[in-house]
Symmetry: C2
Subunit: 217 residues, 2 copies
DNA sequence: GTCCGGATATCTGTGATATTTGATCTTAGG
DNA sequence: CCTAAGATCAAATATCACAGATATCCGGAC
């Protein structure tokens, strides 16, 4: 292990690329709940054959972002208040857990990275909340947990949540929410090493992100 | 690397059947951590072509039961104490959540079903703990939560845990553990509607199941 | 004799494509 | 208007072609 470290070749796999392409589409709110998607259409759109698309889609189904219907068509899960409630509770429970692990391993560098995320706006032309920034902020934090078990679960939850992001644009008042308030609180709590405050701020942020989606809940 | 025994499957829904066949194999502890598996071998053992196996395996990878190696071979995750710890914490958090939801919807019928599970031994010839019975007991309870979000997550955790079940047989003393103690406590708490007691019993049961695996932890 | 290097044989998954199966829609017959 | 047979389309499965990885083995240098 004394040899100079050389980065591994980027094993470019079509399946992975398709998966992340679809994943991105979800987090951008490109899919509407209830939409049906066709493997052929996706394959043609992405310029590949059906095989990589099918495997990527299998993964998305396993993660709950898509569901198989009895008629063998694929569908984006329809909106469901009960499901939304489950999603929120799962996020509250798991992300609290991940936060604890992350705080065990917290460093000034990570906090700095989180602050950097907040100051760099991804795209000046966006209309709604900066979804990419929000994602980056949370996962910069969560990655600090270094948990190979929890992180994929949390990502799966965000992906399922992503299927509803399409509905955000509808609520004008949501756009003017103080988006960074809880994020700043989280950073302050991290700096102070105050676990209770960090948990409270994170919980509030999660609650907020669901209020954006369902203002009445 | 000895070929795990996997039951043949009938036609129709090949992909699903392959998935569940492999899943069963995991919960029976047929795979040893570190094992590599081959799509062609599995396809031949199951009497299908590679395609359904590939899709089933993709799902298992997404759920963390198998991992892709850089050399593109599939591998059962090797034992890892850190990972085990994460798994336990995730199970404690999520199953507590599911327990709460289940208790909101608890009925005498469900409790009776859980008791029935405990009195019917699946296979008289088994040597170790009755894994199938344990699974059935917990998921009879968890299904009562009716959560389409949380249940798959918990199943994924059990599946990852399952990759280590192979190691149980090694610990002779574990076999004589009072297996049903916590299960009976859970049932008693459910009957009494005592949430705190139910949570405590479930937590103890989860801790126990990891102690069976890693006696020193 | 032992150790190292390279060639090759034989695995592996990946991606593409052809074939089969099943479901839905249309439409002809009642 | 309703029913049922057939046309149509997409997904599920099987098969094929290929490139990368591992293992084996053989030859030569020390």
């Amino acid at each position: 292990m004394s040899a100079p470290r050389i980065a591994r070749i980027d094993q470019s796999k079509l399946r992975e690329n398709v998966y992340f392409a679809l994943r991105d589409a979800f987090t951008r709110g490109e899919f509407a709940p209830g939409d049906t998607v066709s493997l052929r259409d996706l394959a043609e759109q992405l310029g590949t054959s059906m095989t990589p698309v099918r495997e990527a889609v299998r993964r998305l189904v396993a993660e709950g972002a898509l569901i198989d219907t009895p008629s063998r068509t694929l569908q984006v899960p329809a909106f469901d208040a009960r499901r939304m409630q489950d999603l929120k509770q799962a996020r509250l429970a798991l992300e609290a857990l991940v936060l604890d692990l992350a705080m065990d391993r917290m460093t000034p560098e990570i906090i700095a990275a989180m602050e950097a995320v907040l100051t760099t706006h991804s795209d000046p032309g966006i209309t709604g909340p900066d979804l990419q920034q929000n994602y980056d902020f949370h996962f910069t934090l969560y990655r600090a947990s270094e948990s190979e078990v929890l992180l994929p679960l949390v990502e799966a939850l965000w992906l399922q949540y992503g299927a509803y992001l399409n509905l955000i644009i509808k609520h004008e008042e949501a756009l003017r929410m103080p988006e960074h308030k809880h994020h700043q609180e989280i950073i302050a709590a991290l700096k102070a090493g105050d676990r209770a405050a960090a948990h409270a701020a994170l919980a509030n942020d999660i609650e907020r992100s669901f209020r954006v989606l369902v203002p009445t809940a």
